[in-house]
């Protein structure tokens, strides 16, 4: 049985960058379709049945965030956003609208491919039934029994810490904004208390990381949010 070739739509108005992204993805064996505007992008995404969209945020004919909202209305496929530095607010808006990950320009082929692979892998996982036991680093979590162990010893987590961790586990390799975490772990009434997330992330790191100041799993994306790396 041959695996179907993943289809990726690249929406980017800069032809040089588009070309490089395309070359890198094709070298990896993906099928790539290009678009240079929001309009074209929506058409491509609608007709090509892509497995993923790579989207530049600065397009000439519209806002990338609107594109994400439109796309999310009918597709759950991963979206990776490309954007310039110093525009953290745009990134957060894109992620809140439903993007899964972002890359800051300039980026190399290796970085791009790593992100694409991670998102596609996550998607294929999501298809199957999620296992109740999950492992990363020295930590083992049994979601069915609600038990967390580290180095084989049971680890006590408070209810919110546990909820936060389960949410992270459910979204590996994606960038999660503070707002997203607050909404899903604390509930909508806390949407503006972003320091809660930060404080609890600190607690989790202290319990789960070898060196909480240089975390390996719960990584901070400055000004944007967090990424959980298995």
């Amino acid at each position: 049985m041959t695996e179907p070739v993943p289809v990726i739509v690249v929406i980017e108005d800069e032809p040089k960058i588009r070309r490089f992204v395309r070359m890198s993805l094709e070298a990896e064996g993906y099928l790539v379709f290009e678009a240079d505007s929001v309009q074209r992008g929506l058409i491509e995404a609608g007709t090509r049945q892509p497995d993923m969209v790579v989207l530049d945020l600065g397009l000439p004919d519209g806002d990338g965030v609107d594109f994400i909202r439109d796309l999310r209305a009918w597709a759950e496929i991963p979206i990776i956003v490309l954007s310039a530095r110093t525009t953290e607010a745009d990134k957060v808006a894109a992620l809140d609208a439903g993007a899964d990950d972002y890359l800051t320009k300039p980026f190399g082929a290796a970085e791009l491919l790593a992100r694409v692979r991670a998102q596609l892998r996550r998607r294929s996982h999501a298809g199957g039934t999620p296992g109740t036991v999950f492992e990363f680093g020295k930590t083992r979590i049994d979601l069915g029994k609600r038990v967390v162990e580290r180095d084989g010893k049971p680890l006590h987590l408070t209810p919110i810490e546990y909820r936060l961790l389960s949410y992270l586990i459910a979204h590996p390799d994606s960038v999660l904004t503070h707002r997203q975490l607050l909404k899903n772990v604390w509930g909508p009434s806390h949407a503006d208390d972003s320091h809660y997330v930060r404080v609890y992330m600190g607690h989790l790191r202290r319990k789960l990381e070898d060196d909480p100041s240089q975390p390996q799993h719960i990584v901070t994306e400055a000004g944007v949010g967090y990424r959980f790396i298995v």
């Binding site: 960058i17 980026f107 190399g108 000004g223």
Partner: protein, 906 residues
């Protein structure tokens, strides 16, 4: 139940009070019944204890009066040097308040709270100095004798026969944080007196002997004890209120004291103050200005002003009202302010006017629902002043220009002349009518003095020329005496009436003029667009209304007063120090006030709704004119109008500059983002394309791959440079808006380490952040950049294998963060220079960079309100330290979590 809960308003008041108190210094008063009980000694021993506990104690002023045991206590305590104040031809030594404020000890000792300062000092009274020290957050110890308390002053005077003039308002005593009663039984005190251990001021021996009688001492002791007990009682009440021990229903029976023009008004005020304190209710004191009272003599008006001020000092809310009838106005005021008790002085008995009804009766008649309390009159000084009052005012009222007298004499002459031919025709009674007409005319036109004169002239002329025997003052028939009497009466009554009417008309006219002047000024001010115009308008108004020269001093954003606003033709040499004081304290200062009354200029703070805008300096030609209540009100309104106009002008400026700023900011931002986009896009493409070169088919050779890798690296370096330059441009132009959020520092350190991981592979990095480090409000992206730059620098300028340590510690109001290495350190003397733009430790070295990294760090840290510096470590290596303000981190509520965990464990 709701009635067991404390009143929320009261609670709010208490919270506000507590907040105010927290910032203020604490006042501890050593309170005694009389001189010689050992207050100063007790204060000094308490101070030495504080000193032993390591507090910063300084003696502001202490009078030992040569007592040896007290002087011994002074040893080891720092004394603040006294200031020399020139007074007349002497130089007196006085407490130096500015020195104390500069020295700013934790605790200062100020003996004799009731002391009056030497004229020319900042405040007339020492307790005012103490208030200022407390406001500056300095704790104060002081001493007071019971006889110096304002409300007890007359009581003590009554007991001992000696009245002291140096007093402390009761509210100062009442708001003191602690009162320590220094008590000594009278026998022991007398013993000490015999031994010469009690300092006696220069007073007559006899008076002292009278004072230190055992009976007196017992009475004073009782007063002191009772006053202290009252205070403790209040504290108890307060405590109960705080803790809601029980529902204490406070019916607010507020008092209203009526200040009259008479001598006894201060007694009314003192009684009212005592009563209000006892009942723990607020009280008001009002003075009603009626047309009648406008005629009062200068000394009476001054007395009224003094009494109103006295009431204010004793904690009353004061007001000067105007109305045609005093009683009516008082009743209306009482109703408006919900005051249920009216306190008035007892009127003099007027046996010669049995129909006269006293003020108290009339208040009772007008408002039967109000309680009226009459305060006893001081008989010893009852009659005399009343006499001088009438004498003064009568003389005043008889005055008129000499022309009026001349004209009335002429009218009398004319009447006599006209009567001559008519005498043979008409009856004598009708001739008298003619003279009566003359008196009427004079009194209507020329007022009281001339009409009195005319009456007498006419009576004389009528008698001399027409009443038989003619050409003699002898009167043959007694019935003509009746004619004279009627003539005299008509003249006087008419004159009295018309002068009264004229006077009222003049008052009304003056009022109208004031209103018109204010109206005109506000109209002019509403058109003013610049502070200079406002200054000019106010100068004009001050000249016409107060006969004063005026300038305006504006305050800048740092609350410093600038030079006076320049107005053509206006120059006034102001004392910036007094002006600043008035501004800082939001209170009048200078001429005729409590603060530096010796200055010829009055400084009025210009309070606008948002803040005090500056100070109005007025130099009145006649300072007393400004002190009249109606002028005081006018001045208030005047200052307020100016302040509001200044504020309006200020906001017009702000609005304009904001528009300009927004416009230029928008322009700058779009320019910067256009440049950054145009510079970065090709670089991004370059990096990507260099990468994709490796993927071209056929596969590139090793050499080609090397070239591609170098291209990529150079492009990335270029990108870093561009980023630095653009960041610097952004930070410098102020285009960066900090996105500050509360977060743990650890997180920022973590993300910084992640992004510079590649350049740190050859170094050992250790992070040591204290567990209890507070959350910091920072822009994570920018602070990460600071860490990245510092770490990059450390990596660049230290040999491989060096170690880098990141640490932080909270210190006071800020948090100190450092990045230290054990490399070669910084070139000596360049620790500050390296933060400049395009400045590098070593010139033209092989190490890459343009020297913007640290300049960016400094800009970012300073935008956060912190400081950054570099130093060499004692044990080798460089250390970069920056501080960030701590601020007020939000609380993290773990309750929810705990509640959940409780639920779960069930």
């Amino acid at each position: 139940m709701s009635d067991t809960r404390p009143d929320p308003d009261q609670l709010l008041d208490r919270i506000k009070e507590d907040e105010l108190r927290a910032a203020r210094g604490k006042l501890k008063i050593f309170f005694g019944a009389s001189a010689g009980v050992g207050k100063t000694y007790a204060m000094l021993s308490a101070a030495s204890q504080q000193l032993q506990q390591g507090r910063d104690v300084v003696i502001g002023i202490v009078e030992t009066h040569g007592r040896r045991e007290t002087e011994a206590m002074l040893e080891g305590l720092e004394r603040l040097p006294l200031k020399d104040v020139p007074y007349r031809d002497k130089v007196l030594r006085e407490f130096d308040i500015d020195g104390a404020l500069v020295r700013k000890p934790a605790l200062i000792l100020m003996d004799e709270l009731a002391h009056s300062n030497v004229p020319g000092s900042r405040h007339p009274k020492r307790w005012q100095d103490v208030e200022e020290l407390l406001a500056a957050g300095i704790d104060v110890y002081s001493t007071v004798n019971v006889q110096h308390l304002e409300t007890l002053n007359d009581v003590v005077g009554g007991i001992t026969g000696i009245r002291v003039w140096e007093t402390v308002p009761d509210h100062v005593f009442d708001v003191a944080d602690e009162i320590v009663l220094v008590d000594l039984p009278p026998d022991e005190l007398l013993q000490r007196l015999k031994e010469g251990k009690v300092y006696l001021p220069h007073q007559a021996e006899r008076a002292i002997e009278n004072f230190f009688r055992k009976g007196n001492l017992i009475a004073l002791r009782e007063l002191a004890l009772r006053r202290t007990a009252d205070r403790v009682d209040n504290q108890m009440l307060q405590y109960r209120r705080d803790k809601s021990v029980a529902a204490v229903w406070q019916t607010r029976d507020s008092l209203l004291a009526c200040v009259g023009p008479g001598e006894g008004a201060d007694r009314v005020i003192r009684s009212a103050a005592r009563m209000a304190t006892r009942l723990d209710v607020p009280w008001h004191a009002v003075y009603v200005e009626t047309p009648e009272l406008q005629r009062l003599s200068e000394s009476q008006r001054l007395r009224i002003l003094k009494n109103v001020k006295l009431a204010q000092e004793m904690g009353a809310e004061t007001a000067t009202l105007s109305g045609s009838d005093a009683v009516e106005t008082v009743v209306a005021y009482a109703r408006d302010h919900n005051l249920s008790r009216v306190i008035v002085g007892r009127d003099h008995e007027r046996s010669w006017r049995p129909w006269y009804r006293s003020v108290a009766d009339r208040v009772g008649h007008w408002a039967p629902d109000l309680e009226v309390i009459q305060v006893a009159r001081d008989e010893s000084q009852a009659r005399k002043p009343a006499a001088d009052r009438y004498e003064e005012s009568w003389l005043e009222r008889l005055k008129a220009p000499w022309q009026s007298f001349a004209m009335s004499a002429a009218i009398c002459g004319l009447a006599t002349a006209i009567a001559a031919p008519l005498h043979s025709v008409f009856d004598l009674a009708n001739i008298a009518m003619l003279f009566l007409l003359a008196v009427l005319l004079v009194s209507v036109r020329y007022g009281l003095g001339p009409s009195v004169m005319a009456t007498f002239l006419n009576v004389a002329a009528f008698d001399f020329f027409y009443v038989p025997p003619r050409y003699s003052f002898a009167v043959s028939d007694v019935q003509y005496l009746m004619t004279f009497a009627v003539m005299l009466a008509v003249g006087l009554v008419t004159a009295q009436l018309t002068t009264g009417l004229k006077y009222q008309a003049r008052i009304a006219g003056r009022r109208e003029q004031r209103v018109r002047a204010l109206y005109e000024m506000s109209r002019d001010l509403s058109g003013a667009l610049m502070p200079e115009q406002i200054a000019e308008i106010s100068q004009r108004f001050a000249e016409t209304e107060f006969g004063a020269r005026a300038v305006i001093l504006l305050a800048d954003d740092n609350d410093r007063l600038a030079e006076p606003v320049h107005v053509p033709g206006g120059s006034l040499v102001v004392d910036p120090g007094i002006g600043q004081w008035a501004y800082d304290h939001g209170d009048y200062a200078g001429c005729g006030t409590d603060t530096l009354a010796g200055s010829p200029i009055l400084y009025v703070p210009l309070k606008a709704p948002m803040r005090t805008r500056g100070v109005l300096a007025l130099e009145p030609k006649d300072p007393r004119r400004l002190m009249a209540p109606e002028q005081g009100r006018l001045l208030d309104t005047f200052a307020r109008l100016i302040a509001i106009s200044l504020e309006r002008v200020h906001y017009v400026d702000v609005a304009q500059s904001t528009t300009v700023q927004m416009e230029s900011e928008r322009l700058r931002n779009s320019l910067l983002s256009a440049i950054s986009h145009d510079l970065r896009t090709p670089l991004a493409a370059l990096v990507g394309l260099a990468d994709s070169m490796a993927m071209t088919k056929p596969a590139p050779t090793g050499e080609q791959v090397d070239i591609a890798v170098s291209m990529r690296e150079e492009a990335l370096r270029m990108n870093a440079l561009v980023n630095n330059l653009l960041d610097m441009a952004r930070l410098q132009s102020g285009a960066v808006k900090l996105n500050r959020q509360w977060q743990p520092l650890e997180e920022v350190v973590g993300s910084a380490l992640k992004s510079v991981r590649s350049s740190l592979v050859e170094h050992r990095v250790s992070v040591e952040l204290p567990e209890d480090l507070p959350l910091l409000e920072l822009d994570a992206v920018l602070i990460e950049r600071v860490f990245c730059n510092l770490l990059d620098n450390a990596a660049k300028y230290t040999p491989n294998g060096s170690s880098i340590a990141i640490g932080a510690a909270a210190s006071g109001a800020s948090v100190e963060v450092w990045v230290a290495d054990n490399g070669p350190g910084l070139p000596a003397g360049k620790e500050e220079m390296i933060f400049k733009k395009f400045e590098r430790g070593q010139k033209e070295s092989a190490t890459s960079g343009v020297g913007l990294g640290l300049a960016i760090c400094r800009a970012i840290i300073e935008a956060h309100g912190g400081r950054i510096r570099a130093e060499n470590r004692r044990d080798g290596g460089a250390r970069f330290v920056f501080t960030l303000p701590r601020g007020n981190p939000p609380a993290v509520d773990h309750a929810e979590d705990e509640a959940l965990s409780g639920e779960e464990s069930r």
